[in-house]
Symmetry: C2
Subunit: 399 residues, 2 copies
């Protein structure tokens, strides 16, 4: 019989969201009159902005006429979008990223999952804990050893440098699930470490649009030397409500080099280009046109309104949690609020009590890794009305 | 420095299409008055059908309103599309494929590239020659050994069973680039071989809509037992002009099993589901709605018209080539015509002479593998007018 990639058999099953759904369903069945509010959702709820909708309509018409029909596009994405990304996402921050260093795709999850293709299976991956499960699972699938970097109260949610040599370092800031950030000085420690040790930082900045404080870098390339040690992943999902549209991009600078087993220098931009041209056929043309539209003057105002709406929800969440006498992190530069459970009760116990008493659902932090035990995550993606109602209930919550 | 996946360094550079483009450009520069007709293009030219355009408009509106907005969808695709695929692509041929055996994606190229993730790097891949380069390159990237199966005049373009044990067998029928097919009896030989030897057939049926003859299977699952030894890849690219839209699907039957190194049976459907839920976030919602529309009564008529248009071009190609005294294969059940160069001249020499004398560009067969030497590929994807003009010129071609 066919031999499978048995690294898959080493994957830990992830029942987090299905278990949350099952518990809500059971509670709702037992309490049919209860109005459950889900502050556990990780998906956006506001519709696509009008500028992107209009662009999608125009692209639909393009596809219907022989003179404007677009067939196969460049695997790395259209220049019309890559140029806008350079112009609006990087140039204003003094970062010189060239269009041919941008690889547009169907989303950051695909890129974060596939990037491992270009690295040796012998590489050791350093991954913060708690964490977005994709980083861990994709490295387990590739047979790589994973070293965890705890993020907790003891280190103020700033991971410490690894105590053993590592090759790939996954950093996501603003962070999912904790909502915490790294300052410029804190991120510089990691860039300097990667440059000195020859590691690559895989920097997930999917939530950069939620940053409100001045000292928090939006891009790792704000740190000098990062173009020689970092790949950056960006998504239009949360920035522009593209979770169902599917578009993101990855930056692989020309200055970033690897090495083969003979010691020959290898250009990682070329390697990723070869991976993408071989295993990917480009993001959808109409979707790229919709993404382009968020960089128009009206598009930029519209997506900013949605981000501000979610940030207002996040502030309300923080107020409610604090009023209940609970401590929390995040919610200032991120759509996530990370709530500490009191008296050492577990994530799941807190989930159960909160649901039973307030009919509000959260996400147990332990589902994101062992260092998430003793925390729960609330998200800012529900409606303002639902968020206000949830926080009114939570502010009266007695554990 | 970071250790790269050095299998990438073993990839053969592929200059085929860039070299064709360079030669055309050079010729055009030297002969500015010449009207070059490109019969080398592999992309569709007819616009998206009206039903799909209308569906894309409706989906754009859906995305613009909170009540109909679609965020993250199922990673394996929406049921509304999977059910249509079962109903129209399989049930009418007596094939019982269930919706949860269908994995909708951003295209067959991605799936064909990524499917290797679930198999052991120790697997040996058998690949026909000449061939679509993605099969070879993705296996080289994974460090797998590749065994080539020659397809030539000697075996009437029907590959012979491998002379050594293999694990993964790539078959593409109707074939790109030769345009040849396997009959039911010929495909049954491969299914029986795979069942007996414990191999998996990766069956690429991206061109099944071009089949006109009764004895040619549209799906490998028309062959008894194939559900226990085959994965099928389908694309809307050529069927419905979706090359720029990006949508396809892969069928992984529940009956298909693999084995880990301890001899435990592993369900390949579960394995691919785990791969896709971890490294992919679903195909775009508006694009899936457009794909659904090709299964409506009007959509089915419209996409059939385009396929018939290309098949008419293919027939014209065959007539022109035959009138020139050349022999060819394909073009009856496929959009490709595979022309034998006369007098043992090479693919590139024929390309040069055809371009110089008739101002028609073809694709040299050797670019698809060493067994493609002595052949060139013509495609049916140009307009009817361009195809007629090209064939008028080719019919008078004197080598």
């Amino acid at each position: 019989m066919i031999k499978v990639n048995e690294n898959f058999c080493r994957l830990a099953p992830n029942y987090l969201f299905s278990e949350v759904a099952r518990k809500i369903q059971t509670f709702q069945k037992a309490n049919p009159e209860a109005h459950v509010i889900k502050m556990s959702i990780g998906d956006v709820t506001r519709p696509l902005c009008p500028s992107a909708v209009e662009a999608l309509h125009r692209a639909a018409d393009d596809q219907g006429h022989p003179d404007t029909f677009h067939g196969y596009g460049p695997e790395q994405g259209y220049a019309f979008l890559a140029e806008k990304i350079c112009q609006f996402d990087y140039a204003p921050r003094g970062i010189s990223v060239q269009p041919d260093e941008i690889f547009i795709s169907d989303g950051a999850k695909s890129d974060l999952g596939n990037i491992g293709d270009i690295f040796s299976p012998d590489c050791v991956a350093a991954i913060t804990d708690p964490v977005y499960p994709v980083y861990v699972d994709t490295n387990v699938m590739a047979g790589r050893r994973v070293v965890f970097l705890p993020c907790n109260e003891a280190n103020d949610f700033v991971p410490e440098l690894p105590s053993e040599p590592v090759d790939l370092i996954y950093l996501c800031y603003p962070n999912n699930p904790t909502g915490t950030t790294l300052t410029r000085a804190q991120l510089k420690v990691w860039v300097d470490y990667a440059l000195a040790s020859g590691a690559v930082i895989l920097f997930d900045s999917a939530y950069e649009c939620f940053i409100t404080e001045a000292d928090i870098p939006h891009s790792i390339y704000e740190i000098p030397g990062a173009e020689r040690c970092a790949i950056e992943f960006r998504s239009f999902s949360k920035t522009a409500g593209f979770t169902g549209m599917r578009c993101g991009y990855t930056v692989v600078p020309h200055a970033l080099k690897g090495v083969d087993s003979l010691g020959h220098e290898v250009d990682l931009n070329n390697l990723w280009r070869r991976r993408q041209t071989t295993k990917f056929n480009g993001a959808s043309y109409p979707i790229q046109r919709a993404a382009e539209a968020i960089f128009t003057p009206s598009g930029r105002i519209q997506i900013r309104e949605s981000v501000d709406y979610y940030l207002r929800n996040a502030a309300i969440l923080r107020q409610g949690v604090t009023a209940a006498g609970l401590s929390c992190r995040g919610g200032v530069n991120a759509p996530y609020v990370w709530v500490k459970t009191p008296d050492g009760i577990t994530s799941w116990e807190f989930f159960d009590r909160l649901l039973a008493q307030t009919h509000v659902a959260c996400t147990p932090g332990v589902g994101f890794g062992s260092c998430g035990e003793g925390y729960v995550r609330l998200t800012a993606f529900n409606t303002l009305a639902a968020t206000e109602m949830a926080m009114d209930r939570i502010s009266k919550f007695k554990i």
